[in-house]
Symmetry: C2
Subunit: 257 residues, 2 copies
Amino acid sequence: MNGSALTVDLVGSGNVAFHLAQRFSKVGVLLRSVYARDLSKIKTFPSGCAPLPFDDLHAHDATVPLIIAVSDDAIPAVAGKIPKNCTVLHTSGSVPLDALPQSKRGVLYPLQSFSHAQEIDWTDLPLIIEASEDETGTHVDQLANQLSNRVVTLTSQQRLHLHLAAVIVNNFVNHLFGLSAGYLESKQLPFDLLQPLIRQTAEKIVNMTPVAAQTGPAKRNDQTTIKRHLDMLENHPDARAVYELLSQQIIRLHHER
Amino acid sequence: MNGSALTVDLVGSGNVAFHLAQRFSKVGVLLRSVYARDLSKIKTFPSGCAPLPFDDLHAHDATVPLIIAVSDDAIPAVAGKIPKNCTVLHTSGSVPLDALPQSKRGVLYPLQSFSHAQEIDWTDLPLIIEASEDETGTHVDQLANQLSNRVVTLTSQQRLHLHLAAVIVNNFVNHLFGLSAGYLESKQLPFDLLQPLIRQTAEKIVNMTPVAAQTGPAKRNDQTTIKRHLDMLENHPDARAVYELLSQQIIRLHHER
């Protein structure tokens, strides 16, 4: 963030750190060094960045901003090792900006689910940013705009709301996929038959609200089908409990207002 | 199904009938006539097919197979109007083959969610087929293979299982989208920020099982975050009940086995 090409350092060797390093390399942000607990993991990172042990954090050079991409729980301890005069950003959806003790602190939260193997489309990936003061804010904004076309400034509280909403559409939706897959497996039927439907369900709400897009037995208040499905789920108590609760909610939402 | 180009007739003017008619036109299946309760709806169908009133069903010409694409509840009444010597197929996921009184009966169930406005990618759309006897089976198979590259023969019972699994990944997942959107709306935050995450969640399970793809506070058994999220949902009882139930299930699945 000094000179013409942005230069940053990174802490962490997990999926977020890995994909950030890939993206930096792609867009010409210079990644100088990566601090990691397990230095062997840095081997899969783009070449050119120097691996450094966690213990060197206390001697971090304040001229280069440091991005902490470690698990939420580990952020306070990691940030505590870094000198107070450094510029420090974290990448978490739910950790407040003020969890960082440095006065030049910021957030760069990529609203996406990262796995090592899966490529990330950064062009429209929402980057949620926040900063403690204007100078750091300008730096974070500049960096974020190099990475994505979709940069949004929010408060820590708003970011927390967004993270909760993300848990619902990511973690809980994935659990429903698991319930559906488990049921089909017990009937020796292949889950991948549902793949086009799953893709379409996700695409449908680009142009429609979820309430308008709702279909199915509960939307029609079709008690015969609901009863039959609950009977079919007799030996699948988790799926049955979900079926019952969500059907009740959908019926109430669409028939009792 | 006689001569070189397949010829079919259709009953219904809803989304499934509309998209089938489009697909027939695209792949060169000749759609001779469409029976509909509301003939004005046929105006949006590809040109060349004759609109016919429901009342003409009793005089249907047995040389052309008839595909019933009406709501599940209406299938028995519609099928009952059609002469017993006709070849009749329905397109439902949950109605048994034997709900059709004709001896030459079959099923052609497109495992997808159809809305009028949204284009359908038919190339890998799973078509689940079934037939009462070999001759009809050959006809259904031939027709289905013209429409899609992914044709699967299942029993009525297996189709029922698949339909239940589809309700979970389509109707219930969409309801979770609605809970998430409702929460964000109450905080004046735009739901479309979640769109890339929703797409990625759907894509992730192409190469991973849902159990392996699971992430989030419940997967980590992170009680601090779960407690905070439940507090944040205090005024959103539906989302709160879903959060509580699904978190319990994910914790049990990943920590108590």
